[in-house]
Symmetry: C2
Subunit: 352 residues, 2 copies
DNA sequence: CTGAAAGCGCTTACAG
DNA sequence: CTGAAAGCGCTTACAG
């Protein structure tokens, strides 16, 4: 494996000490004289020693327990994909003695989030991955983790001013900015409607960041000859019926909308409306590769979907924890997902 | 790790045999009576035995040697990225006793390809990853590997009718089809020029597949009211000067081109021409996130670049070999890369 | 056909 | 502050 001239045994031989002492130095344990510590460290440098992580985990029998806290997969394709990524990561690392508990809360019931948080704090985990869907509750959970020195990772959305190990998720503002580019490329000039559909205050905050980016793009690129004007509608009753009604009412009054930017995966509801009311094609852009959204992409109602790589988020969430806790590697503070532009023509090549 | 009640020792205890015999059964080695073999297999099923791959590799000291054969990284950003991915994979698997040799041939000198192929055949490798840039030579190399029972993986481009372990790379036809969608979305109607720039017959063949996809999209979506007509130019002298001249000559005669589809990373040369001759913006789409291309994306000369994930290709090439040879996993016959749509607004979130 | 023993590279008590 | 020995779960000769 690592070769016979580069292991702890070789270091011990060169330093004229036992391998136990070498081990102490490698792991910065105390009980070694400064002299021998230095000598050993020099040799480590010299031969470029890299511990054999297989042998290390095998011998130590050390295990780690991680926990993930995300919305229940049954809710949406999005969280299903995230969980898939989590499982994929787990398959890769479980052989290293890592255990993983999954807590799947109900997005419509904040109390399940709180309950699981309490359970998790009792569980004495070595690391946590969470989707901070309920910002305040997540923030206080983060504080509790910090107090207990438990590293935690945010996926999908961030909580400001929390010292997480890393944030893994979309760059919301920039993805709105990207949507702006696509619409301008296809529309040239006219009027576009931003559609925010959400009943959750917490989530609404995220939609606004996308809206900001979108508006900024239009502002930056507008010219007097080819202006694009922006309207917006907030829909807070999220039953499908209510959404259809809200759109109908709005569009009866504003008949000159050429394009729609829906700031989340609810784009399917707008697609449904547009397909039913037909007339002619109008540009429609939204988020996420849910099955329903893809149906509307296929039939041409939706022009573009912006993908946020939920599977990758889940995978990286767990792997980042592993790299940090087990492999002692440096982790980037922010890991923004690519802003995937998905069409009828390329969606088959994106799993999520 | 795997828990004390599920290892070879436990199986041996239950079967009333030694662990050596258990090992023989696990690895289908001969020299075990049918009776004990069955008994052991039953127990393996019963307790759901999964061998500890760490311990296995550690104990066996088995090593594997892989080789990669790709164009020299100095040639282009593209192959630099591919090599990066290969190195990333290698870092992950080297601890399992895998060694990797890199053969970087000169894209402009077929003889270097042939030379390396001969070297590799002498090297008795356990697996090969190659970019079959020279189709015939690659095909005969593939045959030689097959004769020797050496699994081989094609990345970046495929060789028809060869029984590779897997193909990892773009779906050329579909990426051209995707380019068609983008141009129609922005252009609505007019005239588009396909630009093939290549002096290599082998490579030209790939460009044609993209061209086909592009043309098919236009054909499928053309209507009498909003037709898009397609012209094309092949440029086989690939010095920058010659390209500029060829474009200049062509465009003096065809002044009504509204959009350009360049079928490979040479899009930078077309961008240079368009930026220098200015007038007004015309739609320009090409391939690959090279530094130069990104410069033209940033300044607005290029509208879209289609990414082919060279880093990912390199990574998956090596990992597929590892999964097959070391971990004995099933590998999908074709692993098409996503057709990434890259813009000025999202390129920062794509490494390659 | 089968088993006892040594060993992979590292870690962990334990003894000094 | 330091070392000898046992052991992690598996594999590999070697002996019978």
């Amino acid at each position: 494996m690592a070769g016979r001239l580069s292991g702890v045994k070789e270091i011990a031989r060169r330093a004229n000490v036992s391998i136990a002492t070498v081990d102490r130095v490698i792991h910065n344990r105390k009980g070694v004289s400064e002299t021998t510590r230095q000598k050993i460290n020099e040799i480590i440098q010299e031969i470029g020693f890299q511990p054999n992580i297989l042998a290390s985990r095998l011998a130590s029998k050390k295990t780690n327990r991680f926990a993930v806290l995300i919305p229940d997969a049954r809710e949406t394709d999005y969280w299903k994909a995230s969980l898939d990524g989590i499982e994929r990561a787990y398959q890769e690392i479980k052989q290293y003695g890592v255990f993983l508990d999954r807590y799947l809360f109900d997005l419509n019931d904040k109390s399940t989030f709180v309950k699981y948080v309490n359970d998790m704090l009792k569980g004495s985990y070595d690391g946590v991955v969470m989707a901070p869907s309920f910002i305040e509750e997540a923030a206080s959970f983060a504080s509790a983790c910090a107090d207990r020195q438990i590293p935690y990772v945010f996926i999908n959305s961030d909580v400001p001013n929390r010292d997480s190990l890393t944030y893994i998720g979309p760059h919301l503002y920039q993805s709105g900015y990207q949507a702006g580019q696509l619409i301008r490329f296809g529309l040239k000039q006219g009027k576009v409607l931003i559609v925010n559909i959400s009943k959750e205050i917490d989530a609404y905050h995220h939609l606004l960041r996308k809206e900001e980016g979108f508006r900024q793009y239009m502002e930056n690129t507008n010219t007097p000859e080819a202006p694009i004007r922006v309207e917006k509608i907030d829909i807070t009753n999220t039953t499908d019926e209510a959404i259809q009604d809200a759109l109908d009412t709005f569009l009866k009054e504003h008949t000159d909308i050429d394009a729609f930017f829906v700031t989340n995966s609810r784009v399917k509801s707008v697609a449904k409306y547009l397909r039913n009311t037909a007339r002619q094609h109008r540009i429609l852009i939204g988020y996420d590769l849910s099955e329903e959204n893809i149906e509307y992409l296929k039939d041409g109602t939706i022009d573009f979907l912006i993908g946020q790589k939920p599977e990758e988020q889940g995978y990286l969430g767990v792997m980042s924890l592993f790299q940090h806790v087990v492999a002692d590697k440096k982790i980037a503070k922010e890991q923004y997902m690519p802003i995937d532009i998905i069409t009828k023509e390329n969606f088959e090549f994106y799993k999520n």
